[in-house]
Amino acid sequence: MISLAFILKFIVAAVGAGTPLLFGTVGEIMSEKVGHLNLGVEGMMSVGAVAGFAAGYATGNLACAMVFAFLAGMLSALIYAVLTVSFMANQNVIGLTLTIFGIGFANFVGVYMIGRTGTNNWQLPANLIEQMKNVDIPFLSDIPVLGKLLFSYDPFTYVGIAIALACGWYLFRTKAGLNAQAIGENPAAADAASIRVTKWKYINILLGGGICGIGGAYCSMVINGGVWISDCVGGLGWISVALVIFAAWKPQMAILGSFVFGALRILKYYMPAVIPIAFFNMLPFVITAIVLLAASIRGAKGSHIPENLGNNYFREER
């Protein structure tokens, strides 16, 4: 009854739905690895969403849109970094504020632009929408099953996977990455080992913010078919924060995690109508709760959570 084509279609859709989560999760991992719990993911994604959309609208170039989304995400993370790293403000408060600010800022710009177009509609140019279509690589995409499974996504997905792998390599295979991890585990130890704690905190938080920004651009540009809609990130940032735990603070694991959650998000369209839609809307949150529970049980032996997550570091504190 369930055909192979149906399953393939489902998997491809799941990966697409998981892509924004992938960016959000990897971005948040970068920040949490240096001990900064940034609850502003939703906000940074929103800022990235509107910046990417605007850049795409103005230039009609996808790469340009991504770069702008990245820079805007970085800029919003800079607000967070200055306040929490340099001024040692409470991380949770600043993160939540950043979320509120980011969503509001994005909606404000969006409404302003809709007014300016005069058509009641802020829309990306057609040639850009063409660039965001799923890739079609000659020969490779034509391989039966495998071609569809591996070579039929939009550019964002590939960029996301590349970023996740690069971050994994950086965090676990380079000295700079190990230094960054040491900061998240025990900043005093890192400091005593002559690691520039503040510098590396900034670098990681900003990179994380930039990555979140690209995820936001995906939300505004791809999900809604090139038409600007307010609140386009719609809670994906929050799921990303929880996904960090599912991924055990490993960017590679975030690839798997985000696609699993992507599948949960679209499950409702692929299931017989006997089960109410509300059940499927609930599913990602139930799974999140179960993941958190499982993580806390596993936490008893060899937890992966950075030991000093959420604590600011002041060298001369007594």
Binding site: R173, T174, K175, L178, N179, Q181, A182, E185, N186, A188, A189, A190, D191, A192, A193, S194, I195, R196, G302, E307, R315, E316, R318
Partner: protein, 510 residues
């Protein structure tokens, strides 16, 4: 020219924290191939001074010369580049990393392949006679293993000037001997070593010279060979101190608490206390001796009502207390005070001020739904005065205080509640001489008032001088309750390893 000889010379170093002058124009020097002890009581500014040399703090005045040149040490990186390495009292290690990852952490250059790094660490171990497992994660290590990693970390960076902040506070005597052997090896290799401590016998056994700090000022430097314990104490405290502990005769002791066949199990099911029976008497200090982990902690917590015994009874005026909660004990009118080993964990709330900590014990006494803070504040203020507690104010968080002052707050609060029974677990651990003697005096004062005092101790000399009777525990069993005046340190030691009091006493007499 003479400058060249010194590895480090501090000239009039001053450091101020808010309104507290932690270091006031301190001079200090150390040469290569020498071990300098930095001696001082808690809060005399030893660690602050060393933190400035290692770049954690920045001095507000004065100059540090390294190898004869004035050095501006802005960060630990600067210190490292100057060849200065510090081993902190609280280890600065990343728990999830392995020993060698910690050693490599923060060093410049590319990440070394594990094989090369392991080889380098092993070579270093061989050179200085250290032992470590490079692949073992820190969280699986014992305290002394962690310390070895810290030393390796410093040596790996090529440090020739080593600073150790109270390295022996967490070590057993055997581990201390091992550490000292390593330090002597380093001295031989031409390193300059500064060791911070307040233990006098250690100063005498390891150092070449001693610099004494008192209340943030330096009180000169002496050659170790020319001093003895009492001279050092005098320099450190500022006056001659008698090192004898007073032991007033107990007045008509009476059984207040009787423990009968008490058996307690730990959470993992192992037996912590095995069929223990003894009595606690009023107007007397009962010492408890034993190797760490022989059941002392469980003994205290069972009496205090924090653990349910598996069997047996605790009799108080013919009533069985076993299994009652602390709140129930208070309601029964039993006035018991417990000064736990973990002062800032179990004893006081570290983030609260003195007033709030006082309230923890009395907040249920007020009328109505609101808490009356005035009496608690008055009590806090009177304690500050009575016990000479150094604090920024009664509302300042207690974690900001030094160890001795924290203990004074805790002990003071417990004594203020006029207990009939006072249980103290390692009350002088980590305290300097002055504070220790103050604690002994306070306990004796309680004893004279007729309070039954239980003193869990680790220093046998103190137990023998302070206590009236000594209970010896070995693997949760009582090997004997003896008269402290009629027993020797060696006899207690034998009982701690499991021989019964009867055997030991006969052996001692025979």
């Amino acid at each position: 020219m003479a400058e060249q000889e010194y590895a480090i010379r501090c000239d009039k170093i001053t450091k101020v924290f808010g309104s507290v002058v932690a270091n006031d124009q301190i001079d200090l020097d150390v040469r290569y191939g020498e071990i300098l002890a930095l001696l001082g009581e808690n809060g005399s500014g030893k660690t602050t001074l060393m933190n400035m040399i290692s770049g954690i703090y920045h001095p507000d005045g004065g100059t540090i010369y390294v190898d004869g040149r004035a050095a501006s040490i802005q960060s630990p990186l600067d210190a490292q580049n100057l060849g200065v390495g510090m081993i902190h009292q609280h280890f600065k290690l990343v728990n999830i990393f392995s020993a060698m990852e910690n050693i490599e952490l923060g060093t410049p250059g590319k990440k070394l392949p594990p094989k090369v790094l392991r080889r380098k660490v092993e070579d270093l171990c061989e050179k200085y006679g250290l032992e470590t497992d490079p692949d073992k994660p820190i969280h699986a290590m014992s305290v002394s293993e962690k310390q070895t990693v810290e030393i390796l970390k410093v040596l790996y960076r090529g440090a020739r000037i080593l600073i150790l902040d109270e390295p022996t506070a967490v070590l057993t005597p055997q581990e201390t001997d091992k550490l000292f052997a390593i330090l002597r090896q380093m001295r031989k290799a031409g390193c300059a070593v500064i060791i911070i401590t307040h233990k006098l016998n250690e100063v005498l056994s390891i150092s070449d010279r001693v610099t004494i700090l008192r209340k943030g000022k330096s009180y000169g430097t002496v050659n170790t060979a020319e001093v003895n314990v009492s001279k050092l104490t005098e320099l450190m405290v500022g006056r001659a101190v008698t090192l004898e502990i007073d032991r007033p005769k107990p007045e008509d002791p009476e059984d207040i608490l009787k423990l009968v066949d008490l058996t307690v199990r730990r959470k993992d099911g192992s037996v912590a206390l095995d069929d223990v029976s003894f009595s606690i008497r009023t107007g007397e200090i009962l010492g408890v001796a034993g190797v760490a982990g022989s059941g002392q902690k469980e003994l205290c917590e069972t009496i205090a009502g924090l653990i349910q015994p598996a069997q047996g009874a605790i009799l108080y005026k013919k009533e069985n207390l076993a299994g009652k909660t602390p709140r129930e004990l208070i309601e029964m009118g039993i006035s018991m005070s417990f000064v736990p080993e973990d002062r800032l964990g179990m004893g006081l709330v570290a983030g609260m001020g003195m007033t709030d900590n006082m309230l923890l014990k009395t907040y249920t006494q007020g009328k109505g739904p609101f808490v009356d803070r005035a009496p608690a504040r008055a009590m806090a203020e009177s304690l500050v005065e009575k016990l000479d507690i150094v604090t920024a104010g009664v509302e300042a968080p207690v974690r900001m205080m030094s160890g001795g002052n924290v203990q004074k707050v805790l002990l003071g609060r417990e004594i203020e509640s006029n207990p009939d029974l006072l249980i103290t677990a390692y009350p002088v651990r980590g305290l300097d001489i002055n504070s220790s003697y103050l604690v002994y005096d306070l306990l004796n004062e309680q004893k004279k008032k007729g309070v039954a005092v239980v003193y869990i101790g680790e220093d046998l000399d103190v137990l023998l001088q302070l206590c009236d009777r000594i209970l010896v525990l070995c693997h949760g069993k009582v090997t004997g309750v003896v008269d402290a005046a009629a027993v020797s340190k060696e006899q207690i030691g034998l009982m701690m390893t499991g021989e019964s009091a009867q055997e030991v006493m006969e052996y001692g007499n025979g």
